[in-house]
Symmetry: C2
Subunit: 654 residues, 2 copies
């Protein structure tokens, strides 16, 4: 049974004169409200959603009931009318159904309430909102089967929806739709416009967004208030089909959704003019009601809303997708098929990255690996993958927040996205990466042009805080290959590890030091030149591993034995390896890194040995904002070259 | 002498029929090209700029001559025609002159060349581009007197220009203008649209931007190519006066700049349709010429351009501002005028922040302190300042990148901006903060709602990586007050320290433990409950300092003496204090923090003591992505409460 059964009531608030009229822009099909859409029942659901949102936030004594109230009508239509979403109430994780991203994540209660009315939760379960042992968190997370990505940091949902819509349309050729609900306040976030641009240029007509223009932000009115036409103009300028609708008029919403569904070659957005706290007397459209439960007003408010219900007991159901069969989601291991480098060769790890990804792509039976770029592909060598597999390459242009968001969207669709740009520019997307950590998604971020070794371009282009950033993401893996062989293994490990992986590559060529058959593991470093009389353990990575190896030779010639560790896996860190080797090396470590000392290799190592209180850890690192210069000048200035390492070791051992 | 002296040549390429026509939209004043504007000389300058850009990038064997070439005409007009900028060639740091932000920072060579032609540099000096001992870096930095802010991470310049324009117009009532040059590729960055929105709603008619639509990005054509009308529509939708102009037509540019200057109540933007590599045969408008010096083609290219010069030796000068008198820039210390708290009071540090800023604002003779908000002012207590000084408050709405950019702009205009939002949301602006570090600007960022102690809102709202972020900015100061008194001192210290300062405040109330007369210093922690028999040093901050103090009491009752350190200054860190106290405490430290372990207090402390190899450092920190729950549930789950500290101390001392 669904809303099409069309129970009617004489106390209708429908407007037959508009709903039976022909829609103008798209379908040319008559929308007969009273026959095909149960307007009254949808309005009842809207008010029941309001009641539940108030009850839930009262139960948790926190939350945003007024921001929920403005959404009630369009959420009701999206969930329970055939103009809305095609979802499976008995399989909220369905891959072939429509998917919804609630970008204004603080209105989680009404989303949970809608799934409750759809049958997923009892009212009692809904009342566990925001409790420590409940998955019904204050903002949605993918702990819940109907949530693909955590939201709550505003402005991030649309980009994720773009990624999902893109891959479903262009990679998977599915006909499901992707929906996104945004707040009006969050439209001030630039990330919204990065996503809007992406959706426009890629003509994502399987993407339908709604902006809840309820006029009021957290601390005051939004800058655009109810100027819905400005939103319309903006989205149109970004290539969207944009419709302004009274967000509390169910029939108008039905008509608008139908128009959106029939619009080809353009993403669609409904600019819903609404009132914050709609339906709640003395709260509706008032300031100072953001993020506040209604408290002891609740009984009166519920009474007021219940009086408007036409049929308390009417049950609506969600509308399932037409093709309801689920498809198999593969997760087979993907193994590097061949071996390519010779010891002694000079190869930049950024080059090895592109080559490894291409070769993995060649044996990726289920075409899960995708490469995403921020207009740096000729520098990062993502171009190598693109040239081989243009259909699995996504150009995201110079919009790093959206680059990460689209990757998260692909991950939610069972792809293995590798997004690459200069390591420094991932700092642009740090909030998105932080939220990816909350979502526990499966994305791979590859940052090239790390450290001062890039030279003349200067500090704006140098990643010097990337380890600090990525290490502070729980469960993220951070890899730093020093040569081409370890780099291709890093790419292979990243492919087959479910989670966030960051790989740092370098611009200059470094010597291939590993045999192609060398095995690499997460959390395992590599030791070089071990003797029984080692006096110090030098830990390097990337370009500084090479300095350490050269320093080792020089020192050995002078009778000073130094053991070198190629750190490779910065997180998880090889704690046992570091401690055991340090113990064999006079309890003395020197870390050498082309990164600021804060949050980088040095502090990772310090952290690993800290509780022992018996191992000295010294450091060479970048200790100020660099400037332009040749790589040699800069490496020399920051004492990252072999002669400086030699000098430092001697001074430590004195 | 300036260009208005109007030397003429018979071989004119001017178009009198257009330039003598009346401008349509604004001035109604005839633009007589041959009388008032020296078109030929401006064209000569444009080609000389091209030649210099090629020579400079050849000399450094790196750089972006083709991205410079597309800008040559409009830069020539901006520098040397009266329709352009009003600047002082003899005082490139002038505060009252117009200021230019080169958002497409990779075209630094042509900017330096323009200042060279203006008289600031010899050709020999220009050829030091990108050398280690030259201030003419690959991307501009404020080492140079005409640069207010470092650029090179694309999309950041417009927001800074907005901040400068806003404060000059609304705070300083100056009539100078702020100019910004953007690339077309960078218009994909969301931060551009955050800035565009800001400029539109605040009607910054003293802001003139130019987009260099040269069609070609780094690795391929931009997504919009030469569709200049799309750019126009977008900026218009964001509230701008937008003009599409042939960017190589000097007369059209003059006319357009004049129109912009006379447009009231709107920021203006010129969408300049240009060709990358313009004027360089076989390079112009070709792909694969991004970021490449012309190499051995240079002689032919210079010959080609020189042949077009009408008068090699003609000297143009810049046009000075009409009111050329500089104003005094004050930097007097601002001291907290009164003392407010009583020991034992329960006050949230976020509240104390707002109150301290208000009281400092009251004695800020030169009105330098400004407060900036991202629609969270009722949570961060920036509202307290706004209520007292609405004219020094800037609402930036939910656009944290722009919040930081506008702050940077204010800093460049000698203000002391305090930008506040939830600490977590500064991650949205990490690239901007990174670039603020490169610029070494004077901004104060105050992040509230830190850690799991915020409770029910869940992980999306919790700052748990903010220390990791800010510590990795060179020279940044990171303060973490534990009570209201130390918080107001933190705000006072931040006000009077020139540089980037981050202050972390907490949501819950904490007990006032310091006397109002207690002195606080950067790099100084505070020790509590010192005895001669202390067995461990417990280091906490904010909410965990309170846990440590309670644990100290419990432990003391059981005969275990623990010394507590309130870290307060996380960067610079009190290295001597930590080491000396640790030595007196059995060489044993326990850090307790409401932050991830990576990059936070623990690693800062480990780093401080690492080279000794004699101090054990143990940790309690947040070790996974949290979830919603009460503050108590969460603090308990992550073992941040006093009983857990007690338990941990006992297990360490066993």
């Amino acid at each position: 049974m669904n809303t099409r059964s069309g129970k009617k009531s004489s106390a209708s608030n429908s407007k037959p004169e508009t709903t039976t009229s022909t829609t103008k822009n798209s379908t040319n099909k008559k929308v007969k409200a009273n026959e095909e859409h149960d307007i009254e029942a949808l309005q009842d659901v809207a008010n029941r959603l309001r009641i539940l949102s108030m009850k839930m936030t009262n139960a948790s004594n926190s939350g945003h009931p007024t921001s929920c109230a403005s959404m009630a009508e369009f959420l009701s239509v999206m969930f329970f009318d055939k103009s809305g979403m095609r979802i499976k109430s008995d399989n909220p994780k369905s891959f072939v159904a429509d998917r919804l991203v609630l970008s204004k994540g603080h209105t989680a209660p009404i989303l949970y309430a809608a799934w409750g009315i759809a049958g997923l939760y009892t009212e009692e379960q809904l009342m566990t909102l925001r409790k420590f042992d409940s998955d019904l968190e204050g903002h949605p997370t993918p702990r819940l089967p109907f949530v693909d990505v955590a939201t709550g940091s505003l402005g991030q949902g649309l980009g994720v929806a773009c990624g999902m819509a893109y891959t479903s349309k262009y990679h998977d050729s599915l006909n499901n739709r992707f929906w996104c609900i945004l707040g009006d306040g969050e439209c001030a976030e630039g990330s919204v416009w990065e996503a809007a641009h992406f959706a426009g240029i890629y003509k994502l007509d399987n993407l339908i967004a709604v902006v809840d223009v309820n006029r009021l932000g957290q601390s005051e009115a939004t800058s655009l208030g109810h100027n819905t036409n400005v939103y319309k103009k903006r989205f149109e300028a970004f290539g969207w089909n944009a419709l302004v609708v009274d967000g509390h008029d169910i029939e108008a919403l039905i008509k608008a959704f139908n128009e959106c569904k029939h619009k080809a070659n353009q993403p669609s957005i409904i600019i819903a003019k609404t009132l914050k706290g709609k339906g709640l007397p003395n709260i509706e459209d008032q300031e100072n009601w953001h993020g506040k439960p209604v408290g002891n007003k609740i009984d009166d408010l519920i009474k007021h809303l219940e009086e408007q219900l036409v049929d308390k007991n009417r049950k609506l159901t969600t509308i399932p997708p037409e093709n309801a069969e689920e498809i198999t989601l593969h997760s087979d291991a993907i193994k590097l098929p061949e071996l390519s480098y010779k010891k002694g060769q000079q190869v930049a790890t950024r080059f090895a990255y592109g080559d490894a990804l291409k070769r993995l792509g060649g044996v990726d039976t289920y075409r899960r690996i995708c490469s995403l770029d921020g207009d740096t592909k000729n520098s990062t060598y993502a171009l190598t993958f693109k040239n081989a597999f243009p259909d699995r390459f996504v150009e995201c242009y110079i919009a790093e927040q959206n680059l990460v968001s689209v990757s998260i969207g692909l991950s939610a669709r069972n792809k293995i996205p590798f997004a690459s740009t200069f390591g420094a520019f991932f700092s642009r997307a740090y909030d998105h990466i932080r939220m990816a950590g909350v979502s526990k998604v499966n994305i791979k971020l590859v940052g090239s042009h790390s450290g001062v070794s890039i030279g003349e371009d200067g500090p704006s282009q140098m990643a010097l805080e990337d380890f600090a950033m990525f290490r502070a993401i729980p469960d993220a893996v951070v890899l730093y290959p020093s040569d081409a062989v370890s780099c291709e293994r890093a790419v292979e490990l990243a492919t087959n590890h479910h989670g966030i992986v960051y790989i740092r590559t370098s611009r200059p060529a470094t010597e291939v030091v590993y045999d192609n058959h060398e095995e690499f593991h997460l959390g395992q470093s590599k030791v070089h030149g071990k003797t029984d009389s080692d006096k110090i353990l030098i830990i390097g990575g990337g370009i500084t591993f090479e300095s350490a190896m050269k320093a080792q030779k020089t020192l050995a010639a002078e009778g000073i034995h130094a053991r070198v560790m190629d750190i490779f896996s910065i997180k998880p860190i090889d704690r046992d390896g570091i401690i055991n080797n340090a113990k064999e090396c006079n309890n003395t470590i020197l870390t050498v890194e082309d990164h600021y000392i804060e949050g980088g290799i040095h502090e990772a190592v310090c952290n690993a040995v800290a509780s022992l209180g018996s191992i000295k850890v010294h450091a060479i690192a970048v200790d100020s904002v660099p400037r332009s210069g040749t790589p040699e000048d800069l490496l020399n200035h920051y004492k990252l070259t072999a002669p400086h390492v030699v000098e430092k070791v001697k001074s430590i051992l004195q």
